[in-house]
Subunit: 334 residues, 4 copies
């Protein structure tokens, strides 16, 4: 049929047929002001808006379903496991027996999901400020449905600081799954020295561990907030471990910082043994060796972290481009 040959003809002129056809619809993110990252789109599945932010669930070609808040990718189906396994498991595995966990932010539900895979965990409190985001994710993120229904999970809609101060109980692990600290941004107070000292530490049980997502940690991007979060935490805790992993959909290496007043003693083998004992199902990304690699930073980043002198206090904060209000969708602080 001529139609077919006609179509083929076109491929010589810049368009490709069938599989190879040029994509027409794109999601575009400004990683920085002069750097863009664009995914071909299959569809825009759902959009919504809360009091605080715009929410969208996109179906992207390279990374599957992607949750986007205020024009910033929060997590993509295909590789969110890297972020969430890295955020949750190192702290829970290094703890001898974590039973109670508090999540600051985390409204997406994926952090809770990873925590709930730990058989020894009895109670998870997830405190996010944005109810609509929580509801949106409950409705649309199929991968987290089971977690949202787990009776060990207690969701509370509140500012994380207010909630921690209000509660009388302590936790074995506190996890910060919040937007990056931007001066004037909604979350930056949740990264300050005084917050860690006066609010977080008093709410950790003996031997408790605090871990927080810590923004981009690439060879250049780690100076945005990672080095400063690290330096702030080492003012407050005796043992502080920064680590990082490349997340394809973020087009960058990402960082986390784990902190405690008790030493982190589990080695590679011990971590693998605890994974086997404690975690239901199999991790896709994190095991003992992965953590060993992740916690050895490259020379460039290591030197820069060593030399970092800035500390987040109420009066200081660094900017991370665009990830402002949003980077992790959880706005736990008003």
């Amino acid at each position: 049929m001529n139609d077919i040959s006609g179509s083929n003809e076109r491929s010589g002129n810049g368009d490709l047929t069938s599989e190879g056809r040029r994509k027409s619809c794109w999601y575009e993110e400004e990683i920085e002001q002069d750097l863009r990252w664009c995914y071909a789109l299959n569809s825009i599945l759902h959009t919504g808006a809360s009091q605080y932010q715009d929410i969208a669930l996109l179906d992207t070609r390279p990374f599957g379903k992607a949750l986007v808040i205020d024009g910033k990718l929060q997590s993509a189906e295909m590789d969110e496991f890297i972020y969430h396994e890295s955020l949750v498991h190192p702290a829970l595995l290094h703890h001898p027996n974590p039973k109670t966990i508090f999540i600051m932010g985390g409204g997406e539900g994926s952090t809770a999901r990873e925590i709930l895979r730990h058989k020894n965990v009895d109670k998870v409190v997830m405190c996010d400020i944005d109810e609509q985001v929580v509801d949106f994710c409950k409705s649309y993120l199929v991968a987290n449905r089971e977690a949202f229904c787990d009776t060990r999970l207690h969701i509370t809609i509140n500012d994380a600081r207010a909630e921690l101060e209000r509660r009388e109980e302590c936790f074995d692990v506190i996890i910060g799954d919040l937007a990056d600290p931007i001066e004037g941004g909604p979350c930056y107070q949740l990264y300050t020295k005084s917050f860690y000292e006066s609010t977080v530490k008093p709410r950790l049980n003996e031997g408790g561990i605090f871990v927080t997502q810590a923004g981009p940690a690439g060879v250049f991007s780690h100076t945005e907030v990672f080095s400063c979060i690290y330096n702030t935490l080492r003012q407050v805790f005796k043992y502080v471990v920064p680590y990082s992993a490349h997340i394809p959909s973020y087009a960058d290496t990402w960082g986390w910082v784990m902190a405690s007043d008790s030493p982190f003693k589990a080695d590679t083998e011990e971590l693998d043994a605890r994974i086997k004992q404690r975690i239901k199902g199999e991790n896709r990304y994190l095991d003992g060796k992965t953590f060993a690699s992740a916690s050895i930073l490259s020379k460039a980043v290591r030197k820069s972290l060593d030399k970092e002198t800035q500390v987040y206090t109420e009066g200081t904060a660094r900017f991370i481009y665009g990830h402002g209000t949003a980077h992790k969708l959880n706005h736990a602080h008003a």
Copy 2:
């Protein structure tokens, strides 16, 4: 609330809040290989595929709902009236009493809709080769629902040439609402001298008029196919009128050519009078003066058309970038 000030803060760093927020999702079309036209997207409403082509209905910010076939915009809610009023009304208005109309292609339904606004029209035959496109448009293009239900409309799924040859009746007006003529493309045979002579002309009643969309007609782009379609028609018909109009969503001026063996006698006032008499509802774009302006081409285009020597025959055809298989979604010829 801090969230708000946080949001505002961001706007100083490249992002804009609320209304002014940077758009994340875009539809992108390659007008030419080195020229792109991009609309911000609200959503991707429907997608589908036929035996011949991919179909999508997008909700775009600048132009409303947009029908896209094989990665090429077919028509956009906000300005398709310019294309369809220009294609249909000049021919029907110049004809003294058009009762029967044949549409080659036109599966979108908008051409039929404009024809059916003429009270004197008794019968419209729309012949499109792609049933799925017709069904898609029937289902999703709300503006054409009424037209699709009009009992005067007869839809037939066939190659336009085969259909015209098969039928014994003649028509007052025959309208070509087809993809542009591309060598090897599905429609180029429907623009050849022999097709016009042997198939179209014999199916026109005495005083009948043929009109066809004729591709881009901009100062530069008119040489792609417009001048050649014009020149081909003037080999076959005594009176040939090329005209054009700028269509914002196409990012170009578009062309049509009207042809007959009877002279086109209606002047501006007569056209306006006939519009009042014959057409239900009010035209948004076309009236006597609009047509007067549209049918006076600029010096650059006029000279170029005068000098055109190429004629579409089975063995020749010109290329129009990308608009290949698709430009008007109707593939009336296999």
Copy 3:
């Protein structure tokens, strides 16, 4: 050689070889906030900055060399003739014998170049506020070199209003080649009723004509400033003629308005005769018929202009997206 077959192999996977190779470097302009227009780039020829604005000369694939000010295309080699012939010739041709011309803005030099093609013109005053732009264009715009050297051209660096008020002489034609009127923008005072009444009109000789570029004039975009410039001028002058033309590199139809207290009497033939008599060389775009077509607006635009009630006064102004400071590069007013 394998290299070749290797290259061919790739073309099946999305890249095209040689001529058809995918372009890597692009110029991107936001026509509106949700509409982008992108040209493939060959090179970035020159960049500069003045006290007022950033200047760049790009070599684009679709439109040749392009002058860009503050991220907005000013004029492109391939089609600037449409803008400049349309701005200059209708006014000069309708005037019985234009000898002295004043250009508000026009630092690019192309407006002067078209004026200087008129043999009867004795003196052209070009008043632009930005010396660096004038110098940049003098250096790099080869097409205007001869014009910049013409002894009839007098360049003065000043605010156009101040200059017109300072001067005692009158002119046969005054031409506004300025950025669009944006509230708070640098040029909007040069589009107000009081400016036209108190500054422009007193500087026109008997029978003098004023003409100004008037922003986008598309079916939708004409409401941004075109209709209001038209309506403001008809408060001040007895005879006002709006006209428009599609300019491919602008991705829109553009508008101009010509105004006088003497009637515009030259018809199509008379215009053609005067072109022959008065203009050196041949116009590429404008002749009698082109102007006839350009000055008959489509129904949609005509109705909208008729109904326009807004008048630019010091206290009002309409917004035209992005073309703010810049659209025509000439900032004749501080």
Copy 4:
């Protein structure tokens, strides 16, 4: 001055002033068919073309000067040190006393530059097939000027296989700095088992080490060619070490594979000691710990490499999107 306030005004409408101004010129790379990576451009410094490929030197905002071959980024000023330190130093440092080095490809000169920093190196043979690329880089890549002048460097323009077969001498280290292996591409024969066995291994001195760039090594992208290069090398050499690092300008983690018939014995401290002894100047990226981290792959990649069964032979090859002809600019094989 109004101009200034005018400019500020605009920033509320989508454009940003001065520093924050929206960028107009972009370099765009298709990482994959549905994934784009775009840098704002300051300028296009030089362009050229060889018999094999197009060459450009761009000045990008996020990554400085960038060498682009056939539309694919080869290396960017700001982070090419990660790629080149990772390619060169692990092999040279693990070797007890590397004196003679052969580079397959490497026309850019950066690989040679890193090798020449080793004081014990006596002779470097760089064999690239594309003389124009070598000349272009010699002329324009300032960072490599000194290296190109080093008398220890011997540049030869030839196919790497032909050159290795022609020579009678052996080398302490052979380095593959070639485009990725794509079926039908120019370099894929330089990644086959038979090439390693019959051409590379016989040209290594006792204790010699072979190392090659090995394509993307991200959590998903490592299956394109990295795992297969690794698996092919372990068919041929007794000791094979895959390692990786995130390279910001590539928007991905990149991989290298080091192979030898002698064990790799240097530990972290030994590597650091050798760096101090042997290397002139200071590494920015690579030290003992960096290599320790780089050579522990994440669980996901490790498992996938273990299970890899494919071996590159003359008859097999995997595709890596777009990086086809080009990824490393050196086309050492015809």
